[in-house]
Point group: C2
Chain length 818, copies 2
């Protein structure tokens, strides 16, 4: 890590004179220009520089956007510009109140980035017109700080993730300063409320710096904010309690001259940046005692600052009424139109733009140049700085499988061995995130041979595998894990998030937003590919041994498949080698969300390394060794499985069928890449109908044992031939704390029930094998009785493995700390 | 509200002498008994009172549960018992670390409740045996504080909601004390981190009291906790910043005698309860200045306290290793078995149980009696105290509909008028919860004619509709809204949660947990029915005018339908009267989750009050007025719709088809209760196949315009006749900030595309109406061009209504504060 260099170059104190009046004037000029361009985007269709009196038809017919937050955002942006220039800081911004889109677009336009990436929006009057018109307009750009906005890695549509993203961006970027604006309304969300604690993980040497700015403009959509309505000592205590050194800047109220506020803020910003430089220096030279108390700023200004204070006799500025479009009726009377014109003119556009319509030098003087522009920082276009991972051949880490089921492994533990080498070989751009479950999910102990859990809180002698720096990030917040990882990926790095399957639903909405981001960026030519977001969902629905019904939910997959097929991938590896192969693939891929569900309990290994490669490459396949087909003949029944537990049950069912109905031609199919089931034209992984028919037949009964809610298989195969004879077993929302086999029986996914399903569905069997069918019913009852009496599964099931007993006993359920 | 009575009876200071040594002894005895019973549940299959030496076979083969948190929970429970008795407090508990299930079961057993509700678990040796055996055992009870646990309204499986539930329970329960234990790991979650701020809403007169206890046992599953590893001044600042008066009690470390810890904690608890009584008194007599600073307790004790300190040379007590089953290997060597025996004996069971195996009087002396027992408080079995709402006849609030589409309304605003009366008539047991969106979702202004937004922070003169008490609860946290509402419902009250459709995914996992809770309680005879959890999802995918792609997600319905059909209901009313009727139904129902998606923008009213009653009762129906069927003949095509925007588009498509293809027999169907589509045997609302076939035909093309992701309709109708000719249009994950009609066009849900679909699918039309088809293609292009040029929708679409122009122009998109 290039610690020394970083410290020498990026972080300097600057103890000269206070900011000069001239600089303040330039900050204010920039701010006025940004405000003008923001209001213009929200309201103006034409006449962008007000070279003629404002006419009704110059105003957009539908006024869609948000003004309230924007002047504050522009203010912070302007000031940070000044600091970047003076200190040569490497800075990106994250804007929590992302509805302030016009402000960020305005700044990207002022500093020239906008015209560089959107060639038709030039710095002239025609360009300004197009800039205004496109905003929140059909065929134009969204109202938020979206992927379309240069410099953005955070849209801020769904509030709450500003700080998680900011810290995620800062990890392993020792030179980077992340200016993270948090809305005071946003601060009420759960994810944001816990994300202040991210400072308990940041390392002052290895990682960058997050400067949180609480944007205390007092209001949300229709309410005051909590943090604005508590006594000041509580407010400061809160941020001290969160472990920060808070600075409070207040101004702009009761008509206070903005120049005075600029001066106060500029002085505080200098103080804060000096404090950051000090911390960085002390950290670098080893003189920092204990955890760094990073500064943060509370900026209290009026919501909607500089808009008409009163409209139609009602106070608007400094109230919630400024949140969206303060003058929603700008077209309806000449008075309102005049009010809008007056508002626009209050920024003195004639001083801001030259005769061609380009910003005058004064208006952009404080903006930095080149990559130092926050809108042009390559880190915020992660693909530009992303380096492929160095990955060792996973096959060397594969387990030995002399014959299917002859050995057994905890798949995640084997994966952990390989991940340890990923960590070793990529010490600066790969991290594992988890909500206190890396051990429980059995990636540990192996990964801890290569790294520690990073923690900046107090570390005591009793602790193991904890250190100020490390590649594993554990915090008991799925939101934080997801947000940190997203921030890390969006800035060009790699990682994975391991979680209990049920609780990954906690981040359903965050996944949504990230998937939407990825979908949109695919259509933006200047956005470069970033690493995929990889989930590893272990501790899944079928093996929630210590826990019960609340921990049983395989529905994340269903949630995920609603998102664009271009973005989403789902894998269900069923043993150690298939899991290794899956993850090797995931860590190489870009621009996807990969959902991998895999067990952590001891399970029989089924495929050798080479078989796993082939199986994974196809995404699905026939286990010829497991069926009883006759070459050249169609099977009578297809037993298909997706998921580790279903695969075992299908194998066991096949064994029973072969034993008791030797003439039955059973085909065993395993689907590891779920998207293969979809038609070619609905998902890029989809099998051709020809291939699908060859594997599943067009008319034979298919008994499909699926890991999750059964409907998904019907959905994916809806347009396939033979879906009328497809019979799916899966999780039917029946569960509790019980034995593994009782769980599958409760949901009719067990081997015995699969045999019954085959008997019921293969024409002719029902009559001839009523006896076997009854034996299966009895076997279920026996197994249940045994479990109820003994508290563990009946040995013939517990120790079952393909062709004989297994070393993997499903009754063996280690503690989650092992 | 019975404020005065409450204050006189429930909340008293108690300034006598410090807690006597004898009382401390009894607390400790109870604690030992609870700990013994907890360890017994985790480990013992037999020999429950250790009347013979512990044998390997007395130990369960699979040890599944969590010890670490349990001694602390038992400690707090014992102490609260003492306080309840002395002060006659009305108390329920909420346990964040719900994995401490054995502890709560132990206390419910000790105080007798358990035997009252589970008659086979008596207070004798056989009862203890059954109590132990059933825990985490097939056919037994879950490991968590589940619905099966008497006194519980919170399972604590998915961590994070303890305080939200606690405050929800406290609202409108002025006499109630909610003891809310927060795990220090749990405290890292987002929902929990923001829920401390719930004190900014609680009213000290009208509402009850929450006593949060941070259970600082230092560890989670495999890590220390953040709050344990920050300096003490930060810890205290944090809770001061959250607006509490924190008390810190520490003890049990380095072998400290528990008696000393009991003394300290008992003294602090008395101080805290006196402080609460003071606040309550000052609030009642009007002498409380500003917001109440409620006390909270930080209890720092060793995780796993009283278990073997060291096992196999490794420290266990006071580490994360005590989290689950400290002696997971209790069966494998005689030494380990002896260790377990020694641990159990350390509680001196011979002093705790009499010869029959019943707890001796000393062991239960501090437990309160009757309804004062936390495990028996009727409030924690909400149905026992629930009163039906007083609801006025919604039909009096219905809108006038002289003919379909002749008038128009903002449906949610009309609903607001009726809800205002619900508020008036039910001033103590009905609340509306929302993330700063009650106004944006247009329930306001009407509801504010009847009530205010409750807020305990500072209220300033500029504020409107805000007061210390009120029926509307607004906090910018979907988690808080959901958690508060759940707590409110679980304690026998009524309410609804209104949110943007897209962001309701934020509570996907909370919904999961609540739905699971409801499903399980249905099977528990002593649990009484509670009011349904009602969602009102307005600002839906099709009308995200000010926002864009990030705000467009109709997938919550998909998420919801994976849960048990017994619990889940989905409604898509399409105008004011159907929305009124829907909500009337929802507010009367029990034990469901009702998801209602309804627009807030001006829309044509289609059904009169009487028609709405009939349509809602059927759940779906044919709009005869909108089609062109001939009596006695089958239709040629069925145009079906579910949702407000799809219904409009279908009507418009029908009009076009009737005009240009007069001979075509068009049937128009609307589905308002989505579950009607499912087969009878899969959902209680499901239509019979006969009814389904009559409405949808068995073989005619059905063009189904659906509000959400199209797949859901296929899923619901999968087993129906004619699903091969069903063609569904819906949201295809295409969106941005644009006009309403451009949005439907992007997803091919528009009237023109529906006409094209009909032409393509009704045999014979394609050839004969190629011209019309082309006109439709052109109409789409025209509409898009118009929008791109003008920024609003083309008038013929914008002002369209059934049989003539409309007062509702879809271009009218008011600001969200209006
Ligand atoms: C999670 C979430 N819930 C609700 C909303 C709807 N919403 C949009 S803006 C806003 C208010 C934001 O207030 P604040 O964070 O203070 O931003 P600012 O005042 O700077 O506009 C709300 C509730 C949202 N965007 N995200
Ligand atoms: C949201 C969520 N994420 C992860 C888990 C898995 N989990 C179960 S217990 C636990 C640790 C809880 O620690 P703490 O709250 O301190 O409880 P205690 O120490 O009292 O056991 C975790 C992470 C969970 N139950 N819920
Ligand atoms: Mg704000
Ligand atoms: Mg803990």
């Amino acid at each position: 890590m290039s610690t020394d260099v970083a410290t020498e170059t990026a972080w300097k104190r600057r103890d000269e004179t206070p900011v000069s009046d001239e600089t303040i004037r330039l900050i204010d000029t920039y701010w006025r220009a940004a405000n003008y361009l923001s209001v213009g985007q929200i309201y103006l269709l034409d006449n962008p520089l007000l070279r003629t009196p404002l006419a009704v038809d110059d105003i957009k017919p539908r006024l869609l956007g948000h003004w309230g937050t924007t002047p504050g955002l522009n203010f912070m942006y302007a000031h940070m510009n000044r600091a970047i220039q003076e200190r040569d800081l490497n800075t990106i911004y994250i804007i929590g109140p992302g509805h302030g889109g016009p402000g960020l677009v305005a700044s990207a336009y002022l500093d020239g980035t906008y015209s560089e990436v959107y060639h038709d929006i030039e710095q002239d009057e025609a360009g300004v017109r197009r800039l205004f018109r496109q905003f929140s307009f059909p065929g134009g750009i969204p109202s938020h700080v979206a992927p379309e906005t240069p410099g953005s890695i955070h849209e801020g549509g769904e509030l709450g993730y500003a700080l998680s993203h900011a810290y995620g961006a800062a990890f392993d970027n020792p030179d980077l300063l992340v200016m993270a604006v948090v809305g005071d309304g946003e601060a009420e969300t759960g994810p944001l409320a816990t994300s202040w604690h991210s400072n308990k993980w940041l390392d002052p040497v290895q990682d960058g710096v997050v400067l949180p700015i609480l944007h205390l403009n007092g209001y949300k959509i229709a309410n005051p904010t909590v943090l604005d309505r508590i006594p000041q000592d509580e407010l400061l205590d809160l941020f001290k309690g969160y472990g920060y050194h808070p600075y409070l800047v207040e101004g702009g109220f009761d008509g206070e001259d903005p120049i005075a506020v600029h001066k106060r803020y500029a002085a505080v910003l200098d103080e804060v940046l000096n404090e950051i430089a000090d911390i960085k220096e002390r950290a670098a030279n080893g003189s920092l005692e204990g955890r760094a108390k990073w500064p943060m700023i509370i900026l209290r200004t009026p919501k909607g600052w500089t808009c008409p204070p009163v409209i139609d006799g009602v106070q608007v500025e400094n109230t919630w009424r400024a949140h969206q479009v303060p003058l929603a009726n700008a077209r309806d009377t000449p008075e309102h139109t005049a009010l809008l014109e007056g508002w626009l003119k209050s920024y003195k556009p004639e001083e801001l733009f030259d005769e061609n319509g380009a910003p005058v030098p004064d208006a952009v003087a404080i903006a930095p140049k080149g990559d130092r522009r926050m809108s042009a920082n390559p880190i915020a276009n992660g693909g530009l700085v992303r380096k492929d991972l160095r990955l060792r051949d996973w096959r060397e880490f594969g387990v030995d499988v002399p014959s299917p089921g002859a050995t057994s492994s905890e798949a995640t533990r084997v994966l952990g061995e390989w991940l340890a080498t990923v960590i070793e070989d990529n010490p600066e751009n790969f991290r594992i995130f988890g909500p206190d479950e890396t051990a429980s999910n059995r990636l540990a102990p192996p990964v801890y041979s290569a790294t520690d859990k990073q923690f900046a809180g107090e570390i005591w002698p009793i602790d193991v595998n904890m250190a100020p720096t490390g590649r594993v990030m554990e915090v008991l917040s799925e939101h934080q894990c997801e947000g940190w990882l997203e921030g890390y990926l969006l800035t060009g790095r790699h990682g994975l998030f391991t979680s209990y399957e049920a609780f990954i639903h906690i981040v359903d909405s965050m996944f949504n937003q990230h998937a939407k981001w990825l979908k949109v960026t695919r259509e933006i030519p200047w956005r470069r590919s970033i690493s995929s977001l990889n989930y590893l969902l272990s501790s899944h629905v079928w093996r929630q041994d210590h826990n019960g019904f609340s921990h049983q939910d395989p529905g994340f997959i269903d949630h995920v498949v609603n998102k664009s097929a271009d973005v989403v991938r789902v894998y269900l590896p069923f043993d150690a080698n298939t899991l290794l192969s899956t993850y090797d693939h995931c860590l190489r891929s870009v621009d996807y969300v990969n959902v991998v569900v895999a067990g952590k309990q001891p399970q029989p290994n089924l495929l050798t390394v080479d078989e796993a490669v082939r199986h994974m490459t196809r995404g699905l396949g026939i286990f010829e060794w497991a069926g009883s087909e006759k070459p050249g003949e169609e099977p009578d029944v297809v037993l298909a499985a997706a998921g580790d537990i279903p695969t075992l049950e299908v194998l066991a069912a096949s064994e029973i069928l072969q034993k008791y109905i030797p003439e039955l031609k059973v085909r065993v199919v395993n689907v590891v890449d779920l998207m293969k089931l979809q038609p070619e034209d609905e998902h890029p992984h989809g099998l051709s109908d020809r291939d699908y028919d060859a594997i599943f037949t067009t008319d034979k009964p298919v008994i499909f044992a699926y890991h999750g809610y059964p409907w998904l298989i019907h959905r994916l195969t809806y347009r396939r031939n033979g879906h009328g004879t497809l019979h799916v077993r899966g999780y039917k929302e029946e569960g509790t704390t019980t034995t593994p086999f009782d769980m599958v029986m409760r949901n009719d996914l067990d081997r015995y029930h699969l045999v019954i399903d085959a008997i019921d569905r293969v024409p002719g069997l029902a009559e001839r094998y009523a006896g076997l069918r009854q034996e299966m019913v009895d076997a279920r009852l026996n197994a249940r009785l045994y479990a109820y009496q003994n508290g563990e599964d009946i040995p013939e099931v517990a120790k079952w493995a393909w062709k004989g007993g297994s070393e993997a006993n499903i009754n063996d359920t280690g503690g989650d700390n092992d």
